[in-house]
Symmetry: D2
Subunit: 344 residues, 4 copies
């Protein structure tokens, strides 16, 4: 008898996460419920969920799981969130006290976010989009004339705010750009930052001394808007500022002002609302580089979700702890403050 | 008595190459000629050159040095080209048989070219300039919708054509993006490519299997246009193609055609003529990323020229061989086919 | 009010783990019990433990903690094992269902074990101890004559059995020695091994193709003696075999036979019993290199225990999960089969 | 017509340098002289040399080549020294003024010397040979008892004296052991040391602050005995001192005194005379590790000589400069002061 798995990934599409060969591997290891209709966008109905849970070993998706429902699921070993965020629709206390892993596929985004982050930083440093647009309009300027606002990333002092999966992936790409990369993360001991080859610093040290700043901190109940106007004003004139994680960690209007005035060279992939105000003045900030929440949403990331789920179910079926998805922590799971994914 | 140095860097400006502290260091080690008027664009006159050469130990610049002149310069130890190219205005045979080093400051460009090259590749892979332009026009598309043509650089197979200073600098930045980076360079033994952590391959292997190709080969009398239409047709559909060294190594019209048709995603920093034809269709190639010979011409590169010159003069004054500038080779110096720099 | 901490580290000495400054930091964060008498070898008495537990937030040591005792400790957040092994004297089920972290200081040993492991491998490859002994006896042989049994580690194919903290630390030191280092660990997904820059393989692939094998697998109830005589016979003649984790993972007599016959070049730091049989023939195995459980037991490792404990208590006092010590896993904690530490 | 090559490698054996496949490659590219008798130890006779030189393009070996002989060899392109040292039996002035490359196979030793150097350092830090000897005598001490004189290499401050091929190869192996490795080499600009990821320092800084010192400086007419008693006294008590290049760079008796007194932990692979005084007190220095000039003389190094020669002849046959062997420099070739190899 294969373990029963409730498949409820909406708003993610099953076929986007599980490529054919991977879906086959999954089905060799578990029995998926509901059955054939699963390749759709629809949630299972509440009645279907209630019917399936008593036999369920794994849940893939963001199903509402209050205590009453969890109590009906004595075999449950893991709930695998496929959005990359944790919502308050689950009784986490119950999960942790009953050895139910709460997992997220969020590591699939780390490499993609890091690559875009580096691409945005190099775009800011060398004004690649501006030069491309000028060339396409027939207004390019050659050589040094075209480089009046260009310089080396490796000549800058690099700082990373946040040292979770995103920060670690970014650091790997940035290593060839600097020997003394600074990292701030109050959740991570200095030792771990040093072991990764970076220099642990306070937020103030980072903001006042780094001239290429990457923000990859998650939003929690503790840190909303911690990069406020006063913090942004600590940053040196003309520094690169690349915002990759969530708009909620900065005072976005203050950041937009620095971009518009040219005080900082700002690239951002995240926005307070999406779609963003079509009239907002940041759209006219010449030196800025703007990206519409495109850092992580690559097809290859979605495919990797299915692969990581298969890897962790293989481990759990063998009586081992999962390790390919990210495990929620009892202490912090309820502090996360992300907004739900709209689609895909 | 300090060694006499003929300073004739035009079209480079003295003050662009030698920042104040560096000029001071230089003047502590050598006596510059001509004297105070040197901080200008003008060449010394032929008469001045003729008068200075008999006492000269070092020449900084692209001075015409036929045999007749060299014979008047018995103390000459080094000629330091500051353009980054070697021209046929020097009797190299004479230099090499008289222990006169022929040096170039070209290593100053390696890091800058490598950074732009990686920035262009990430821009192509993630369509950063296109997405920025769309956002600034209010036409951005979010998440997966905006990523229909985006993918990971690290998911591609990377190939580098040319393994001189540029190729080596690029490889260092690309290491975190792939474990099996392919390199083609017929002038470099396989051992040296392997020692640098890359995989030596033939040009055909590289073109048919790499899906992110960086071209950093110098133009020589042997390789003009070696990336012709047939070679470009060997490359896989939708591969990234980043041209960084000289337009002369490719059939540029064939390359433009692949960019316009979308067969390849092309980024180029070099052009058959500059300024480039304002009506050329490549300017309308949507997925391409265009840059106007901006890879190396950063202020910091020019400053580094002065630093490297000072470093090598310090070594030579101590009876040691220079090592910070690039040394021309007797066998290849006359094969180089670069065009002169216009200005800066 | 500072959280109460039961300090019961025996057989480790308090002063060996906590250097003066670190002990001070600890005491700023917690109140240690029992009080002044703690700087000794003695366990608190059972009565003392019983009296302290009801107020205790952290336990440092290997105190017996059956369910009855744990039920008296409602504030308990973490039990920090300082031996590096988990014993069956704790009701782990209770801990995990009550959000009590079970931690081990074992990461302190990783770097030290890795350094000795590499030192032993180089000693085997170059016969350093044998050459040193010969030189000290006046029987050295020079140059190639002395190198009849010496070769490069980097010319060998390297394999690592076990990819926990030790395997990861070892891989970092071995990276410059080979681009295709093989790793076998059935508890770790292939993806994690690849992400670390190594090649995941089966045990059979590793044993039949690696010619420098490092064994750093922990002993569990599943893998005792898994490197049996048949497995050892799969290894190529003259391969290096470095045993670092526990003697229990190999058929030690079979391993000794390969060392004595010279079939393999064996280095081992671990032994079936300690002290080991003084008459055992492996002591006369000329090409072997023998070490008396010295891989991890460095003063600096003990000092680091205290530092990591302080780091994790700081995190837990701030409501965050610990991350500097290793966390036991619900699924595997009871499978571990190490012997207790005798002293230090 | 293949270029004629004078093969005169003695005291190296032809078959030790050229493995069968490599010899075949060589013979496809050049015609070897003298003919079949070359697979022997004997030099060609002076008469044979005189007869062959007029047609010779390449010389492999240490043949006497005064001006009179060189003048008879108008086709000569390269002299390839296979000892790794340059002797005053060649008119180097003539070679450099006639575009004749003077090459050495010495790069073949770099990796082997670096591996032994690291092995010796780890042996000193962990007292591996001492512990192995004790175990083999039945006098081993376990765990911390056996580690009273052991510590981590990565906890020490590392310094490298000399940054030629050996220093660079060593640095690559040492990178995982420290982020701030210090390098002293007066022939190398600071920029090159920094580009390799190390920290350029003065000799005094290195000696007074490094606690693990590797000496890989070549002996020149300038630096004989530069690590004299006063220099050694600047080093911190109990530092590791690993001597790998030539005994001539240190005051060897002073170094032996530090080993005997235990002031430093000394490993040396090189000796003032070989064989070394059988009664010398350094043989009784307990904490020292002694090696009889075994760093480079591995079979694989000799095989690599032939491979590098083939690589460079392939380049030169194609009109390119050699790059796989090391090129002597006009300025420094006559300053080298190594002793000849006795045999192999």
């Amino acid at each position: 008898m294969k373990p029963i798995t409730l498949l409820d990934p909406s708003p993610r599409e099953v076929k986007l996460m599980f490529q054919p060969g991977v879906l086959e591997q999954l089905q060799e290891m578990v029995e998926l419920r509901p059955g054939p209709e699963m390749h759709t966008y629809q949630h299972p109905t509440p009645e279907e969920v209630d019917a399936i849970l008593p036999e369920t070993t794994y849940v893939i998706g963001q199903t509402d799981l209050p205590r009453e429902r969890l109590e009906t699921a004595p075999r449950l070993k893991a709930i695998i969130n496929v959005e990359g965020n944790f919502f308050p629709n689950i009784d986490y206390e119950y999960c942790f006290s009953h050895h139910i892993h709460v997992l997220s596929v969020s590591p699939v985004f780390a490499r993609a976010v890091a690559e875009l982050g580096l691409g945005l930083a190099l775009s800011l440093a060398r004004q690649i989009p501006q030069a491309d647009a000028a060339f396409k309009r027939g207004r390019e300027r050659y050589g040094l004339d075209g480089n009046q606002n260009a310089d080396l990333l490796s000549a800058r002092s690099i700082g990373i705010v946040g040292f979770g999966d995103l920060g670690k992936a970014l650091l790997k790409l940035l290593h060839p750009f600097g020997r003394e990369i600074q990292v701030f993360d109050p959740w991570v001991p200095a030792r771990a930052i040093q072991a990764a080859g970076a220099v642990p610093v306070t937020l103030e040290e980072l903001l006042t001394t780094s001239t290429a700043i990457f923000v990859v901190a998650a939003v929690t109940s503790d840190n909303q808007g911690f990069l406020d106007r006063a913090a942004l004003e600590m940053i040196q004139q003309d520094a690169l500022f690349v915002l990759l994680s969530r708009a909620g960690v900065v005072d976005f209007e203050a950041l937009a002002d620095t971009a518009i005035s040219g005080a900082l060279r700002v690239a951002t992939d995240v926005w307070p609302e999406e779609p963003f105000d079509p009239k907002h003045a940041i759209r006219r900030a010449e030196s800025a580089v703007l990206s519409a929440h495109r850092a992580g949403a690559l097809y290859s990331c979605f495919y990797e979700m299915g692969e990581r789920i298969v890897e962790d179910i293989a481990l759990m079926n063998n009586g081992l702890p999962p390790s390919s998805c990210k495990r929620a922590e009892y202490e912090t799971v309820t502090r996360m403050r992300s907004r739900p994914v709209q689609r895909s």
